[in-house]
Symmetry: none
Subunit: 227 residues, 4 copies
Amino acid sequence: MKSTKPPSDPAACCAVLDTVARWTRRKDARPGEILDAALDLFVARGFAATKVEDIARAAGVTAGTIYRYFANKEEILKAVIRESFAPALLEGEALLANFEGSAAELLTQVIRTWWQLNGATRLSGIPKLMIAESNNFPELARFHREEVIARGEALIGRALQYGIDRGEFRPQPVELAVKVVTAPVVMAMVWKHTDVCGNDGIDLDRYLDIVIETLIHGLGVRPGTNS
Amino acid sequence: MKSTKPPSDPAACCAVLDTVARWTRRKDARPGEILDAALDLFVARGFAATKVEDIARAAGVTAGTIYRYFANKEEILKAVIRESFAPALLEGEALLANFEGSAAELLTQVIRTWWQLNGATRLSGIPKLMIAESNNFPELARFHREEVIARGEALIGRALQYGIDRGEFRPQPVELAVKVVTAPVVMAMVWKHTDVCGNDGIDLDRYLDIVIETLIHGLGVRPGTNS
Amino acid sequence: MKSTKPPSDPAACCAVLDTVARWTRRKDARPGEILDAALDLFVARGFAATKVEDIARAAGVTAGTIYRYFANKEEILKAVIRESFAPALLEGEALLANFEGSAAELLTQVIRTWWQLNGATRLSGIPKLMIAESNNFPELARFHREEVIARGEALIGRALQYGIDRGEFRPQPVELAVKVVTAPVVMAMVWKHTDVCGNDGIDLDRYLDIVIETLIHGLGVRPGTNS
Amino acid sequence: MKSTKPPSDPAACCAVLDTVARWTRRKDARPGEILDAALDLFVARGFAATKVEDIARAAGVTAGTIYRYFANKEEILKAVIRESFAPALLEGEALLANFEGSAAELLTQVIRTWWQLNGATRLSGIPKLMIAESNNFPELARFHREEVIARGEALIGRALQYGIDRGEFRPQPVELAVKVVTAPVVMAMVWKHTDVCGNDGIDLDRYLDIVIETLIHGLGVRPGTNS
DNA sequence: AATGAATGAGACTTCATTCAT
DNA sequence: TATGAATGAAGTCTCATTCAT
C-alpha cells in the first residue's frame, strides 16, 4: 500500500537534477503538447497501434499524466480531430459565405484551400486513420462523421449547388456529386501517408491540378448536349 | 519479423492420398478455408482487431491448427492478399487486349468490369485493408504495389492513352490521369466497408455512373478550346 | 508483436523440467481449483484486495489462465457463491419439506444445519465479504440477494410460520422475525472471520446454544399472557 | 506501515492568531472537516473504493492538503474511527450508573439509547466499516476492541447481570449472552448501510421492537421450568 | 499553508503463440 | 494432424503520494 524506494539508490547522486526535471509543471502547455505528439503518432502508426505510453513519452510526460487531461485514448483522438479541423472548416465556410464569381473558381478555391490547410499538413493523416479504424471505434466514427465529414460535405455541396444554380454545372444529385469531388482529394491524402503503395513519386500538386480541371469540366454543362 | 515460408503447397504431397479417399480433401482445403475466413474478418474488423481464434472458429478449426499452416498472424494477412488479386486482373487485361471502339466506351467498360469483379464482391475490402496496414507490412506493400497496383494502373493507363491517341481525351500526363480515374473507384470500395462514415445510404451504382460521366467529359477534349 | 526470449537464458538448463511442469493440462480440474483458491483469498482479504494474480498463483496457474474460465474477477466471486451455497440450501429445504415435530426442534435443526454446513466451514467468510463489498458491486449484491439470501430467509420464514401455525410461537410479522433469527447467526460468521474484534475467545458453539434457546423462548407464546 | 503522528493538535500553536482573526478558524477546522467527509465516503463506499481526492473534494480542499494533516489514507480511517465513538459510550454509561427498576426496562433503555445515539445516526456506518477493514488494520482493530467494544459489552453485561441478580433473567454465562444481545443490533446497523442486500424495506424500528421483546422473554426465567 | 500537476507502481484484462496430448 | 489449455508479454487505466510553486 506504500511504495518507498530505498534511499540507497545508486542514482541518488543525480537526484536533485532528476527531481528538478521531473516535476516541472506545465499546466496549460500540456494538453497541446500531448495532442501534438498524439497526432504524429496516430498518423504514423494508426490508432490501435499507438500506445498511450508512446504518446506520453513523445510529449515528455508519463502515461499517468495523459489521463489527467483525457479520459481515455479515444478522447485523445477526438480532441486531436476537434482541434485540427476546426480552422480549416471555418476558413472554408468563410470563403463560401460571400463568394461572388464563377462556380469553377469557387470549386477550385475550396479544393485548394482544403488541400493547403489539411492535405499539405500533418492533418492529411487523419482520413487514413479514420478509414482504418472507424469500424472498430463507432463513437469515434460518429464524432468524425458529424463534426468533420458532414460539415465538409455541406461545404462542397453548397459550392456545387452554386454552380448548378448559375447554370455552370449540370443539374445532378448533389449529395452524390459531392462524393465525386471528395474522393480524389481524400485519396490524395491517403496516398501521402501510405509510403509504399506505388505513389512514392506522385506529384500531388499536379495531380490536384488535373483533378480540379477534370472535375470542373466533367461537372460542367456540355455545349451541344441538353442532358 | 520471423521468416517463414508461406504454406506454399501443402496439398501437393498429398495428391496421391486424395485420389484414394475423397473425403480427405478437407485437409487440403484447410488453408483455403482459413484464408477465406480471414479475409472476411480482416475486412470487417481490421488486422489488429481480428483474433486468431476468431479466424479459427470461422474456419471451423481451432487456433492451434492455424499455426500448422501459417507461421503467424502476419503471414495470414499476406496470404489473404496474395490470393485475392490474381483473378480480377487477368479479366481486365483480356478485355483491353483487342478492344475497338470509342475511348469513352472503353473507359466505361474497364471501370465497370473492375467494379463488378472487385468492387461488388468481398474483394472490395482489400484496398481498405491495404490502406490501413501497408505501412506496417512493407514487404506486403511492395508486393501489392508491384503485382496489383502496377498492373491495374497500366491497364487504366492504356485505356487513357488509347483515348488520347484517338483524339478523344486531352493530352495529359497519363500516370497522373490514371490516379484521377482510380481514386473515386477505390474510395467507393473503401466506403463500402466503412459502416459509419457518412456514406450509409450512398447508392454506389449511381455514384459510379456520375463518376464515369464526369471522368469522360472531364478528360475529354473540349470543343471550342484547343488546350 | 513477437516475444522471443534469447536461447542464452541462464535458466536454460532446467528448461525441460520447467516445460513439463508448466504445461500440465488439467482442464476439468481447473475451475474447481481456481474457485477453491479464490474462496480462501476472498475470505481472507476481501474482494477488492484480492488480486487475480494471487488467485492464479494459489491455484497453480497464471493469471491468463483464469480468464479462460471466468470472464472477470466478479464472475469468479459469483461462481464461488453459486457453488458454495447450493448444497446447504438444498439440505435445508429438504429438511423442511417433510418435518413433523415441534417448531422448537425444527428451528433448532435449521439453525444447526445452517451452522454446520456454512458457519463451521470456510463459507462462513462469504457473508462478511458481501457486507463489505456489496455496495460496490451491485450486480454481485443482486445475485447474492436473489440466489442466497432470499432462499435462506424463505426457509427460516417457513419454520417460523410452522411454529406460529402450531401455536408454539407468538403470531408475528414473519419477515421481521426472520431477521431476528438470522442476525445472530450471521454475526457469528462475521466474528469467525474478524480476527481482532474482541471475539478471539468466543466459544461460538456455546454462543449458538444460547442464541437458539433465547430465540425459542423469546419467540414462544408466554404462558399466562395472551398477547 | 509508515509511522505518523495523528494530527493531534495542530490548532494549539495557532491559538494566538485565532484571537486576532476569527476567520482563520477555518484552518483549525480542517482536520475535522476532512474526517467528516471521510466518514461519509468510507461508510458509503468502503475504504479501498474511496479515493483520497474524493475526500478532499468533499471536504472542500485538494488532495495535497489532506497530506498536511494525515500521513496517508490509513491514518485517515484510523482517525475517523477513533473520533467517532467516544460520545455514545459516555451517554450509555451514565444511564446505567444509577438505574433502579426492572431489568427488562433497563435492557430496553440501553438498547434504545444505543440505537438512538448510534444506530439512527451516521455513526451506524462504523461497525460495517470495522467489519470490512479490521483485518487489514490490526492496530485499529485492537483500538476498536479495547476502547469501544470492551466498554460497550461491559455496559450490556452489567445490565444482564443486574437482571440475573434480580432473578429476572436466567443465570447464564454473561459474556456470551452479551453477544446475543449485541448481534441483532449491530446487524441492524450493517443493514442500514447495505443498500442491496434484501433489506431495502425493513422497518428497523419495528425490527428492534421484536428484537427487544424476544430478548427479554428469551433471556427471562421461564415459569414452571427450573433450568 | 495550500495547491494541483505529475509520478509510478500496479491492477485487470487480452491475445498471439506454444506444446503436451 | 488437430486440439485447446496454458502461457506471458503487453496494453489501458487508476490512484496514493510527492513536491515545485
